[in-house]
């Protein structure tokens, strides 16, 4: 098992007491699986996602990674875990003032020593540049290598993030609303890239607000509502009623792809 979640909860301290984001979530993800996580805004998708990639630790319950309790990992082990998990965020989250090539090279940081990173910051090694260029070629951005990240369009930035992921070469890919800021044609292209990567024996967990796309692309769907798992079924078994129930009362969640910055989400979701 890649992930085993056993009543995982996450609460954030705030001035008015703890704000619960995830109440108690349990499910498992096996190697090579492709899972979509859906649910209305505020269901806890992003928190779950940050728990899965090791950015946060659960405040209750137990999250196991390859059978080991994440809470018991030393910082070094936690870093090793993160290195094996590739993350695609809702917004590409590139370093704005770095070039496309530099941002792609960043994918390999987890495998590098500080000395190698410093050396790369000044003048990257030939082999690393070649690998990064191959990754950029795969997403069709080789010609943009010297452009600054903040010069690119949203779709291009998302493709650079994927190139960074290719550079990282993880065994698990976590994608948080990877299509949210893209128009449908671009979203299809990005989806193809992601699924192509996942095809090579990698595990893919993706949060999505677009239910249609989730059902079409992923064999398994985990639905969250109010910090709990509403259902966890193969996508062909998802019924209209179940979806209506899931999004009931949610203010047109599927139609509100407006992303607040993750910083605010910490408080609101």
């Amino acid at each position: 098992m890649i992930y085993q979640l056993d009543a995982v909860g996450k609460a954030y301290p705030s001035r008015r007491g703890a704000v619960t984001s995830l109440a108690a979530v349990s499910f498992e993800v096996a190697a090579g699986e492709r899972v979509a996580v859906i649910g209305p805004s505020g269901a806890g998708k992003t928190t779950l996602f940050r728990l899965l990639n090791g950015t946060l630790r659960p405040s209750s319950g137990r999250l196991r990674w390859h059978g080991r309790d994440v809470a018991s990992l030393s910082p070094r082990e936690a870093r090793a875990m993160r290195r094996r998990i590739g993350t695609i965020h809702q917004q590409a989250l590139l370093v704005p003032s770095l070039t496309v090539l530099d941002n792609t090279l960043c994918g390999a940081l987890g495998a590098w020593s500080l000395a190698r990173a410093l050396r790369t910051a000044i003048s990257p090694a030939r082999g690393d540049v070649d690998r990064a260029m191959a990754a950029l070629d795969r997403v069709g951005l080789a010609d943009k290598r010297d452009a600054r990240a903040d010069e690119l369009s949203g779709g291009q930035q998302q493709r650079v993030a994927i190139a960074r992921l290719v550079m990282q070469d993880p065994e698990v890919i976590l994608a948080d609303e990877p299509f949210a800021s893209l128009d449908p044609a671009l979203a299809d292209a990005i989806a193809e890239l992601l699924l192509g990567l996942a095809g090579a024996g990698r595990t893919l967990v993706c949060t999505l607000h677009d239910v249609e796309r989730a059902l079409a692309l992923f064999p398994r769907v985990v639905a969250l509502r109010a910090g709990r798992v509403a259902f966890d079924v193969p996508s062909r078994a998802v019924s209209r009623e179940a979806l209506d129930e899931l999004y009931r009362g949610a203010p047109a969640a599927a139609a509100s792809p407006l992303q607040a910055a993750p910083r605010e989400q910490i408080v609101t979701c």
């Binding site: 940050r50 990639n53 090791g54 950015t55 946060l56 630790r57 030393s74 910082p75 936690a78 870093r79 090793a80 875990m81 993160r82 290195r83 094996r84 998990i85 590739g86 993350t87 965020h89 917004q91 989250l93 590139l94 370093v95 704005p96 003032s97 770095l98 070039t99 530099d102 960043c106 994918g107 390999a108 940081l109 987890g110 495998a111 590098w112 500080l114 990173a117 410093l118 910051a121 000044i122 003048s123 010297d146 452009a147 600054r148 903040d150 010069e151 993030a161 960074r164 990282q168 910055a261 993750p262 910083r263 910490i266």
Partner: protein, 544 residues
């Protein structure tokens, strides 16, 4: 608010604020007489040769001092960056772990260490290194490195904390270490502001070395007409540093997206700089400068050096904490506090009045020619030039001028402090405003906001963290080094410390260092409180 008013009024009383002498024609005549004496400057070949040699030497000292101060500042700044070690999403997962707590404690200690580096007066640092390395440029450079390192480290940590944290989280999720996040996530975002400050710090080194080396100690060495020549040389160095700062920042932003104030001219004609070549060039310059002042001489690594330095440190202990001695410190502390408050407020007023017009606008349609554009351009240049002049005239000279204008006493020192502080803060304000991201500003402009509204609603929220930080650090500096007050007969901690050190009353000097450290820490707390207030206030506005 009420409390602030009380503080200002009390400070004004201590600072001896009296407006009448400012309007006394006799004093005007004295100042005019002094100014006339500055003209014509001494441009004899012999003296120019002296100035040229001193300028080169000053440049070498300042380059070596700045490079060493970076070596001191960078590791401490890295460790002191709260968003890497103490709070925020990067730390959240590890805060409870023992290693996380150790790192958090180390981070707090690093911040305290930076404060300590600043709290020990450069005079004491210099004596420590003189004991270790003998007389000459080396102890001077080391003293510069340590005390400017304390300031640089504090500012770098503040800059590192203000970058957008989201890309950092993305880097961390690839398994990057904190140091790697610094190199690839934080530094690229902070570098233009950081370079602006490092070069400002270099300018400070130039000023210290040049003013002290050229104007001299006893003072009989130079005629007043020579002073004008020296100020011209200093002004040239300040201007050159400013220009380098601007050019470097432009180079780093060579292909930034539209909106950055510099992109128009440079977008196409500056090639992406080869980083390796720049790094090698910089290293060569630093090594050459170090060699020129004897930093690598064999004698520098004398094993006895540590013993001599330890002896001096032992002489500082135990600090004199006798009640009688502590009582004698009350007056200087009050004087220093009062004058620093008024001097800094004056500096903020001057800095804001000149710094805002000195900041290049982010306008894209700035291309439009015409009278309005020309006027704006002229105002900007004029403001920058005025700020450079305020900084280039050494504060001792300001004291001399204000002594003539308002007479002996704390007020003359306060005015000198205020004018010099204004020159410094105006420059830092302008640089900070230029570094604000243009994108939100463009949105505001699209809504038809006036330039003032754009400043208040667009630039201020983004820039305030650093604006407050610079202001507080300058206030802290005025608390620490207001020796100018002593010159004007205004008392204060600076002169008390100088006298103690000259008389080798080291335990008393040590007490003073403790007091200054207390003041430095207190201003730090005050600064954090102000920032928290500002941030929660703006959150409240946003919610409404």
């Amino acid at each position: 608010m009420g409390l602030a008013a009380v503080v200002v009024v009390a400070s004004g009383a201590v600072a001896g604020v009296r407006l009448a002498p400012l309007f006394d024609p006799a004093n005007h005549a004295a100042v005019r007489g002094f100014a006339r004496g500055l003209w014509p400057p001494d441009v004899s070949l012999e003296f120019l040769r002296v100035v040229a040699a001193a300028t080169l030497r000053t440049a070498a000292i300042a380059i070596a001092g700045t490079a060493l101060s970076l070596i001191v500042a960078l590791p401490l700044a890295f460790l002191a960056t709260a968003t890497l070690f103490r709070r925020g999403p990067l730390v959240e997962g590890e805060r409870r772990a023992p290693s996380g707590m150790v790192l958090a404690a180390a981070s707090v200690a690093a911040r305290a260490a930076l404060g300590f580096l600043r709290a020990v007066p450069d005079l004491v640092w210099a004596l420590l290194f003189v004991a270790g390395f003998g007389l000459g440029a080396v102890p001077g450079v080391l003293a510069l490195a340590v005390s400017y390192g304390g300031m640089l480290g504090r500012i770098l940590a503040d800059l590192f904390e203000t970058v957008d944290p989201r890309p950092l989280e993305a880097l961390r999720s690839t398994g990057a270490t904190r140091a790697q996040i610094l190199v690839f996530g934080i530094w690229p975002q902070a570098r233009t502001s950081a370079i602006a400050y490092v070069l400002y710090s270099f300018e400070c080194c130039v000023r210290s070395a040049m003013v002290l080396g050229l104007v001299g100690a006893g003072g009989l060495g130079y005629e007043i007409s020579q002073i004008a020549t020296l100020i011209a040389a200093l002004l040239a160095m300040v201007w050159l540093t400013d220009a380098t700062s601007l050019a470097l920042r432009r180079l780093l932003r060579a292909n930034a997206p539209p909106g950055w104030y510099v992109q128009r001219r440079l977008r196409t004609d500056v090639p992406a700089a080869p980083r390796g070549a720049i790094a090698a060039g910089l290293a060569a310059i630093v090594i050459a400068a170090g060699a020129a002042i004897g930093l690598f001489d064999r004698g520098v690594l004398d094993p006895a050096a540590l013993g001599h330095m330890a002896r001096l440190v032992r002489d500082l202990f135990p600090p004199d904490l006798a009640p009688d001695h502590l009582r004698t410190l009350i007056e200087p502390v009050a004087q220093t506090l009062g004058t620093s408050v008024i001097g800094t407020l004056l500096g903020v007023a001057i800095g804001a009045a000149l710094g805002v017009p000195a900041a290049a606008p982010h306008d894209e349609d700035d291309r439009a020619r015409g009278a309005a554009h020309l006027v704006r351009h002229a105002v900007r240049r004029l403001s920058r030039a005025t700020l450079s002049l305020l900084r280039a005239i050494p504060d001792v000279l300001w004291v001399l001028i204000f002594l003539l204008a308002v007479g002996l006493g704390p007020f003359a020192g306060t005015l000198a402090l205020g004018v010099h502080t204004g020159g410094v803060l105006g420059k830092l304000y302008a640089d900070t405003l230029e570094e604000v991201s243009p994108l939100p500003l463009r949105g505001l402009r699209a809504t038809g906001a006036t330039p003032l509204q754009i400043l208040v609603w667009g630039a201020w929220p983004e820039a305030r963290r650093m604006l407050v930080s610079y202001t507080l650090l300058r206030w802290e500096m005025n608390l620490r080094t207001s020796t100018v007050l002593g010159i004007a007969g205004g008392g204060g901690l600076g002169i008390a410390l100088y006298n103690d050190v000259q008389l080798r009353f080291y335990p008393q000097a040590a007490t003073m260092i403790l007091v200054v450290y207390g003041l430095v820490t207190a201003t730090g707390w005050l600064g954090d409180a102000v920032l928290r207030r500002l941030e929660s206030a703006s959150l409240a506005t946003a919610r409404r």
